[in-house]
């Protein structure tokens, strides 16, 4: 009986997951749900950001939490129906000294959940200008500056939220960047004006982004733009890299990455590759993923002439033993949701670095922007568009047809001429006889 029930549940889950795909969704966004700003919490929750978004489909709902509490992160939870909501224990979450486990809960039993944590922004001095941070050992002098993202203060999310287009920008506060001893009031007078931003965009249906690199999206995908703007570099040859973790509630899976190469770069001129880092291959055919093209831009007006490369490095699996020793990730919303289970999840970490050799480093424009798709399901695959196919067919097809027709015409003409000559000769013979 229990076995039959398990089978039924698995079937339902499978059915839901299969249909949690490319349906049209209604999106709503809310900042700091359940936080009553009239009650004075020490510290107040308007200094913390939880952006809660619901994407309601016909049969299920995806709940997103974009946050800068602790480490910047995204948590995605799949609900089997449309009625769920999140319940946050603000008292505990706003207190840096308590354990944040299970402070973020949902009113339903999640079908699937996955998340990403962005832990450190690495700044490295690229002595040999190869844009490869693995060339430098961690102990090397005069090479590394590590920006731990939980030390940052963030602008309130309602300053930069666009409810109509479902876009929210989580931007760091510039003053805190260089300060070592920060307090809640900002006495630290630094002339640092730089910011780092995470721009999250949600979509209700399918389409393709209007901004380079024109990544495809559907209703199960959110686009993330990472912008490193105007940071004063520590070294003369500074370059940046981002450390990120991808985790999911799959029991048996491990994350894997796939690079696809294509001859077609029509959507992102000059970029022929796509990287998919997904959490699937566990007990279901698809799961959460992050997808990106290895391109970043060093001007906010993106174009091929200001494109640079994104390099990815090896994936480091975080097994339970390693995770038990590393408590840093407990300062994050995914931990607030998963609790102690975080240490048993399948989790991998990797770094991506930005820059191309000989591009004059970050300080050339003091701007880097990178876009990625974070979503659920099968990562979209770029196909050669109809327009290009038609252009190739006509542009090459017409000349080929002309050549073939011309060759046939010439051949026939020659045969006819030859036949005529033969005919004339045989006629003249017959006249002789």
């Amino acid at each position: 009986m229990a076995a039959l029930y398990n089978l039924y549940v698995t079937f339902v889950i499978f059915f839901v997951l299969l249909h949690a795909s490319e349906a049209s969704r209604k999106i709503s966004m809310q900042i700091n749900p359940g936080c009553d700003t009239s009650i004075p919490h020490p510290p107040a929750c308007d200094m913390k950001n939880i952006v809660y978004a619901k994407a309601e489909g016909p049969t299920d709902t995806i709940h997103y939490i974009f946050s800068t509490i602790g480490y910047p992160s995204v948590l995605t939870v799949l609900a089997p129906d449309t009625s769920g909501k999140v319940i946050i224990d603000w008292n505990k979450l706003l207190n840096d000294t308590t354990d944040w486990a299970r402070t973020v809960n949902f009113t339903f039993e999640p079908v699937y959940s996955y998340g990403m944590i962005f832990r450190r922004l690495y700044e490295y001095n690229d002595h040999n200008d190869k844009a490869d941070m693995s060339a430098y050992s961690p102990e090397q002098n005069d090479t590394w500056k590590i920006h731990d993202l939980k030390d940052m203060k963030w602008q309130p999310a309602d300053k930069f939220i666009d409810q109509r287009h479902h876009v929210v920008t989580l931007q760091s506060m510039p003053q805190e960047w260089m300060c070592k001893n920060h307090t809640e009031v900002y006495p630290c007078k630094s002339n640092q004006t730089g910011t780092i931003s995470f721009v999250w965009s949600l979509f209700g249906n399918n389409g393709r982004s209007s901004v380079l690199p024109h990544l495809e999206y559907n209703s199960n995908i959110t686009h993330m733009d990472l912008v490193i703007d105007n940071i004063k570099p520590e070294y003369s040859k500074s370059r940046f890299a981002m450390e990120m973790f991808l985790m999911s509630s799959d029991k048996k899976s491990h994350t894997q990455s796939k690079d696809t190469k294509s001859i077609d770069d029509e959507y992102s001129p000059g970029v022929f590759k796509m990287t998919d880092w997904s959490t699937n291959m566990g007990d279901r055919p698809f799961g959460g993923f992050i997808q990106w093209k290895p391109v970043c831009y060093y001007k906010s007006a993106r174009g091929r002439e200001n494109a640079s490369k994104v390099r990815k490095y090896g994936f480091v699996p975080k097994d339970a033993a390693a995770m038990k020793k590393d408590f840093s990730l407990q300062y994050s919303v995914p931990y607030a949701f998963f609790g102690a289970r975080l240490h048993t999840l399948s989790m991998n970490a990797t770094n991506v670095s930005f820059g191309l050799p000989k591009d004059k480093f970050y300080s050339k424009t003091s701007y880097t922007a990178w876009t990625a798709s974070v979503g659920y399901g099968n990562p979209p695959v770029d196909k050669v568009s109809d327009v290009i196919t038609i252009v190739i067919a006509t542009g090459l097809g017409i000349p080929v047809i002309l050549i073939i027709v011309g060759a046939i015409y010439l051949f026939i003409k020659k045969r006819l001429a030859k036949n005529k000559v033969m005919k004339d000769i045989t006629e003249s013979y017959s006249q002789i006889q």
Partner: protein, 460 residues
Amino acid sequence: MDKEETKPLLGGDDEEELTGCGATLPCDPRRWLHRFLVLIIMCFLSFGSYFCYDNPAAMQDTMESVLHLSTSQFMMFYALYSWPNVILCFFGGFLIDRVFGIRLGAIIFAAFVTVGQVIFALGAYINSYWTMNMGRFVFGLGGESLAVAQNTYAVSWFKGRELNMVFGLQLSFSRIGSTVNMNVMQPLYNSVQNIIPGYQGLGVTLFLATITCGYSMCCALAMAYYDRRAARILKRDGGKTGEVIQLKDVKDFPASLWVICIICVAYYVTVFPFIGLGLVFFEMKFDMDPSEANLVNSLVYVISAGASPVFGFLIDRTGKNIFWVLTGVTFTLGCHAILAFTFVNPFFPMITMGLAYSVLASALWPMVALIIPEYQLGTAYGLMQSIQNLGLAIVAQVAGSIVDAKGYLLLEVFNLAWLCVALIATVLLYLMDASKGGKLNLAAWKRKALAAAEPEKKPL
């Protein structure tokens, strides 16, 4: 016996007697060694122009930072050369045919090149962007027309003999000039910087580059002297019909010339703009680092520098120019297809493209000499070069826009379409030529036999 009785009865009694060193092998225009020594002078005629043409590219970063230029301001140095030359080299060719003659024309255009480069250097010395632009414009007035003069000289000295190889060699020298420029100018500037810093140092460096133009000027003067001497000794003017070109003759140019111009444009627009945009393509699609990508990108130039004279020599021996043109176009078509649709290491297609380009350049340009009489030749070459410049200038912009909007795959498809046009034009040329007796595609031995048979037709 005195001289009177040893003189041959028929003709030959006004052969010039060469005396002293004029009679030795290298100085006798009737013999091959003199022709080849003059060939060296002929090749260096536009060396200065090719060297200085690419000075901006060799020092782009320096110029942009020292003179505080944006990339589009920098590109003006090239636009001011190409756009005026869309019309100018046609008129330059016409002036050579009608007004100045080849000797004075070459000297005048070499002077424009030198003066233009001096103004350009002066502009850098006083940090005046507009003076530099004026310098480039004057430089352009001479540069392309000087190339037309060089082509006309080549036909005059080598028609019916080693013309294909000579064209190949001239192409070689243009590439060598450009490569030497790329490798020499930046280190030269770095040394000058130690003594004279800033934009003044840049000006001095560009003045030093003017030396090559001065050398070309000397070559133009030398060519004028040797050409006049050879014309006198070989009695070239005796064969001239006394006809002079009129501007309206242009519309009577044979249709084959126009088809050759189409082939020229349709082919060249798939090579040069592609190399201009190729660096990022090789870095991104084939994962090459910048120095490797630079090497692959420059393969076409490097290979054509070496292979053009060799292929030219081969084409001289075999003839059948149209067949060689067809080969060049077809192989380039294959190369672009491989670069577009596969991930094969780009070394192979680019090397092949370099070879195909050498073949085509050596076979295409001499064909004009086979269908246009000598007194119209400067104009014909000027026309061909004008059309080529127009095509390159327009397509360079279009290619950049295509890549920015829709990527490299579409650019390659664009190139393939142009190559198909070139292919169709070549086949058309073959048909037109075949219907008129097949002059352009003769095997070399046949061509020589026909040329030898002709003098016998002259009245005694």
